[in-house]
């Protein structure tokens, strides 16, 4: 049965779009049929991260308004057969999207895909509430710092009250994804630690994605990090997270400092 997953955060710039692309690609690599949907109307990004920006003809709003058919707006990924993108419009504003329009598109996507992953805009306004409205599950993205965690808490409250699932008295399944986890700052105690974040949010952990140049490198070439460099630390963390989303139990790896030189690696293991 199809699953609708919203990637949301409240606070901006925490890594929602990066995570949508990386998780979408990782699930597709596992053979699942995936569509990533950009809900960030007016500030679309997902097409760039997916490397599909030059193939966008129709978008979410065109489909919602009946100007284009869903099949005309969907863009298939060049690298992965089973990965698709439904882009947002860059020129329209958020009000062009209606509740009914979103409802119909999601219902249609449910018949065609295993996973429908919605990249939410930042904030708690209409765009964000529409992105979460029809979701079955949510990935709440947060960085290990206070304001981001507080906004995540706020978004969790909205997931529990403003989604169709919640209104029907059901529970929307929630996961916390901690991104931009800076290992050296963590070592110096400059960030909120994982336990504190989980205690505050009281939602199970989906994964910890380290702060990494590999993410920037991947987005510069228009590729989800899980495709661009699957062996990198952030890609491995995203791949593990995708496995957890599909129901597997995978041990949680807390990222550790990687910048060890050759000599360190050679000699680092010597017993004291």
């Amino acid at each position: 049965m199809a699953k609708v997953l919203v990637v949301t955060s409240g606070k901006g710039g925490v890594g929602k779009t990066t995570s949508t692309a990386a998780l979408g690609a990782a699930l597709a690599q596992r053979g699942e049929k995936v569509v990533v949907v950009d809900f960030d109307v007016g500030l679309r990004n997902l097409d760039l991260i997916m490397g599909a920006e030059r193939r966008v003809v129709f978008d979410l709003i065109n489909v919602a308004q009946g100007v284009a058919k869903l099949s005309q707006a969907l863009i298939r990924d060049k690298r992965l057969e089973s990965l698709w993108l439904l882009p947002a419009s860059q020129t329209r504003d958020k009000d062009a999207l209606t509740d009914e329009g979103v409802r119909d598109i999601i219902a249609d996507l449910r018949t065609k895909f295993d996973w429908i992953i919605c990249d939410s805009p930042a904030g708690i306004e209409r765009g964000a509430t529409l992105a979460m409205r029809y979701a079955d599950e949510a990935v709440v993205v947060t960085n290990p710092e206070v304001s981001s965690v507080r906004d995540a808490d706020r978004i969790i409250g909205m997931l529990d009250s403003k989604t169709v699932k919640a209104e029907q008295g059901e529970q929307i399944k929630k996961h916390v994804l901690i991104t931009r986890y800076d290992t050296s700052r963590a070592a110096r105690g400059e960030m909120l630690n994982i336990d504190d974040i989980l205690e505050i949010l009281a939602v199970p952990l989906l994964g910890i994605i380290p702060e990494s140049q590999d993410v920037l490198k991947a987005s510069n070439v228009g590729s989800p990090v899980t495709l661009n460099n699957a062996a990198s630390q952030p890609a491995r963390a995203y791949i593990d997270a995708a496995r957890r989303l599909s129901g597997e139990t995978v041990d949680m790896v807390v990222p550790t400092e990687q910048r060890r030189g050759f000599m360190d690696r050679l000699l680092g293991r010597r017993a004291a």
Partner: protein
Amino acid sequence: MDAKVEPQRQVMRLRGRSYVAFVFSPFMPIMNWLEEIDATLAQSPGFFAGRPIVLDLAAVELSSHGVAHLVSNLETRGIRVLGLEGIEPDGLDPKLPPVLSGGRGCVVEQVEPKKVEVLPPPPPAPSLLLRSPVRSGQRIVYTEGDVTVLGSVGSGAEIVAGGSIHVYGTLRGRAMAGINGNSDARIYCQKIEAELLAIDGYYQTAEDIGETLRRQPAQAWLDGDVLRITPLN
């Protein structure tokens, strides 16, 4: 659409019928008069339910706007105005009830409201139980009594209670107990990291809460007019 021409059209029949209606005669100042209405309603709620009334404006001088205001004021109290009396129809907003004339006084039988119309007041619920955490941005207001949270209260969340507040988790947001002047109300939590605590209007912010108490089980209570926060155990 094809409209059929009816061969024998029915002539519209005008029939008369008279009804008994309550007449309200407001006096100046209108505010005082409305207070009397409110007092009546407080004693027998539902008294005017299903009984439209006629408004006799002979004793007051109101503009069309003033009349409209009065009519809507009555409507918010559940009183429907059937017609107006004692005022010139000229210059009145056509959306207002029509001006009537030729009314005659009569004795109204059964002025007591029917028993079924009076809803028994709901039994007072002494406490509100929240089974999930209260998240940032959420505000719970329960003036009737105690609030119990099975979980944490997030930073930027707010609980307002007429009685005491019990948090089985970390209290990071704001908690205001005893807001109706109940100085015996208390706030209890498993871990205190509150942004603000208040009882009956006396408050302390995070700054005031001693560092030694932070993250400990604690309670807040009023000692005269001093808000005290002490460890729980």
